[in-house]
C-alpha cells in the first residue's frame, strides 16, 4: 500500500505517494528528479547520497521516504542562488576539490551542515565532519581546502552584508544588537 507524504525539497513542496520500502534517495532521484544525491555504496558508508533533512546531514539511502514525511530537504541543487555558485561550490571549483565528482554533492551537503553549526572550523574539525563521505580520487586535502575556502568566503560575504546593512537606511532590528 502506498502512503501519501509531503516533502519540501529546496523550498518546493511536493506531495507524493510512496511505497513504504522506498528510500529517500530514490524518491528524490527517480520520482522528483533531484539527481544530485548520488547512489554509491547503498549501505550508509560512502555518503554520496548525503542531503540535509531539517538542517541535519543524513544519508538518504538509509532513510525511508515515509520517515522524511513533513521534513525540509536540501539537495545540492538547492545550493546555488539565481545561477550563482554557493561559496561551498565555489570552493570546490577553486580548490580542485573534486576529480570524478561522484562524492561531491554529498561532500558539499555535509560541509553545508558543518558551516551552519561551525562557521570557522579548523582542519581537524573539517576532517572529522567529512569522515562519513568517501572520496576515492582526491586524497581529501583539496576537499578540506575547499571547505576552508567556503568558510572564509561566507565570513567575508557576511561581513560585506553587515557593512551594506549599516550603510543602508532601512535598518532592521537585527542589527541593533551589534551596536
Amino acid at each position: 500500500m502506498e502512503h501519501d507524504i509531503t516533502l519540501t525539497v529546496n523550498d518546493t513542496e511536493h506531495e507524493i505517494a510512496v511505497e513504504p520500502r522506498t528510500l529517500l534517495v530514490h524518491t528524490l532521484r527517480d520520482a522528483l528528479g533531484y539527481t544530485g544525491a548520488n547512489v554509491g555504496c547503498e549501505s550508509s558508508l560512502c555518503g554520496a547520497c548525503t542531503v540535509t533533512m531539517d538542517g541535519d546531514a543524513v544519508k538518504s539511502c538509509t532513510v525511508l521516504a515515509v520517515q522524511a514525511d513533513g521534513t525540509e530537504i536540501e539537495t545540492v541543487e538547492g545550493l546555488a542562488e539565481d545561477g550563482d555558485f554557493h561559496p561551498i561550490q565555489e570552493g570546490f571549483r577553486k580548490e580542485h576539490g573534486l576529480q570524478c565528482g561522484y562524492c561531491t554533492p554529498g561532500m558539499m551537503m555535509t560541509a553545508r551542515e558543518l558551516l551552519e553549526d561551525n562557521p570557522d572550523p579548523d582542519e581537524a574539525e573539517i576532517r572529522e565532519a567529512i569522515e562519513g563521505n568517501l572520496c576515492r580520487c582526491t586524497g581529501y586535502q583539496n576537499i578540506v581546502n575547499a571547505v576552508e575556502f567556503a568558510a572564509d568566503r561566507m565570513e567575508t560575504d557576511a561581513a560585506n552584508r553587515d557593512i551594506a546593512a549599516d550603510g543602508g537606511t532601512d535598518r532592521t532590528t537585527d542589527t541593533v544588537e551589534d551596536e
Binding site: R21, T62, V66, G132
Partner: protein
Amino acid sequence: MYPAPFEYERAESVEDALSLMDEHSDSITELLAGGHSLLPTMKAGLATPDVVIDIGEIDALRGIENAEGSITVGALTPYSAVDDSETVWTETAVFADAAHHIGDVQVRNRGTVGGNIAHADPASDLPAALLAADGTVIAHGPDGERSIAADEFFEASYMTALAEDELLTRIELPKRGGHAGAYAKKPSPSSGYAIVGVAVVLETDGNTVTDARVAVNGAMDHAVRLEPVEEALSGESFTDETITTAAERATDDLDTAMVMDDLQASNEFRAQLVEVYTERALDTALDRSSVAPPAAD
C-alpha cells in the same frame, strides 16, 4: 538495494505503539526509530519483517532531561544530541564519549540511543557505556513501566531482557560527584563498528579510586563488565602505575575461546586489544579527572 516489501504503521504515542505491537503480534514485526541498524539489515535481506512500526515521530521519547540524581535520555534522542550535550559530558562523560565515537556525522544525526541499546549489536558503542555508567533501561509494556538494570539487560548477540511486547522508552544514567569517565575504541576501518571498545567510570575521593566500573564492547557476544580491572582499581591511588597493573587484568575473567573471532581480528588479537584499550580508556579518564598530577621532581 530495496528492502523487501512490508506494511508500514506509524505510531503517534507510546500507547499507540504498544497497541500496534499487540495488533500485529502474530506477524514478524520490527520497530523503526532512526533506522540506522534496521534499514541496513533489511536492505541486506537479513531482516524481512511483515510489519514495520515507525516510532520515530513520538516526540515525547526525544530529549535529554537533567533530573535529580540522574540524566534521562529519551529513546529517540539521536547520538548527535548526546554528543552535543554539555550536561551529559559533565555528569556522565563515558556515555557522551561513546556516542561521539559512533559512525560519522550523518549516522550520529539519525541513529538513536534507544535503537542502539535495544538492538544490542555486540560491536556497538553504547552498551558498554551503559554498563559502565550503571544505567537503567526503562521499558513500557502492556502492564506498564518497568526498570531493567544495565547489568541485567544485555544477554547475548542482539538479545536483551526486553520482552516481545515491550518498548524501550528511555534510559537513566546516575549522576556521580567526583567521577571520571572515558571510552576508548578501536573501530573497524571499514564499518566503524567497534572491534573493541572499552568504557570506564571511576569515582574518586581525592587521589583514591573509591569505585570503578569497566565494560567492553566487541569482545564477547554482548557487552560485559571487566570485574578484575574494577577490583584492581578500587581503593588504589589513581596513577599511571595502577592503570597499567589494572589493565593487565582485563582478560582474566574472559574465556579466550569465546572471545569474538572474525576476519578483522582473531580472538587472541582481540584479547590483546582489550588490555590495550582498557589502558587507553583509563589514561583518558585520568587526564580528565581532577586528580592532581604528582609533583614534578
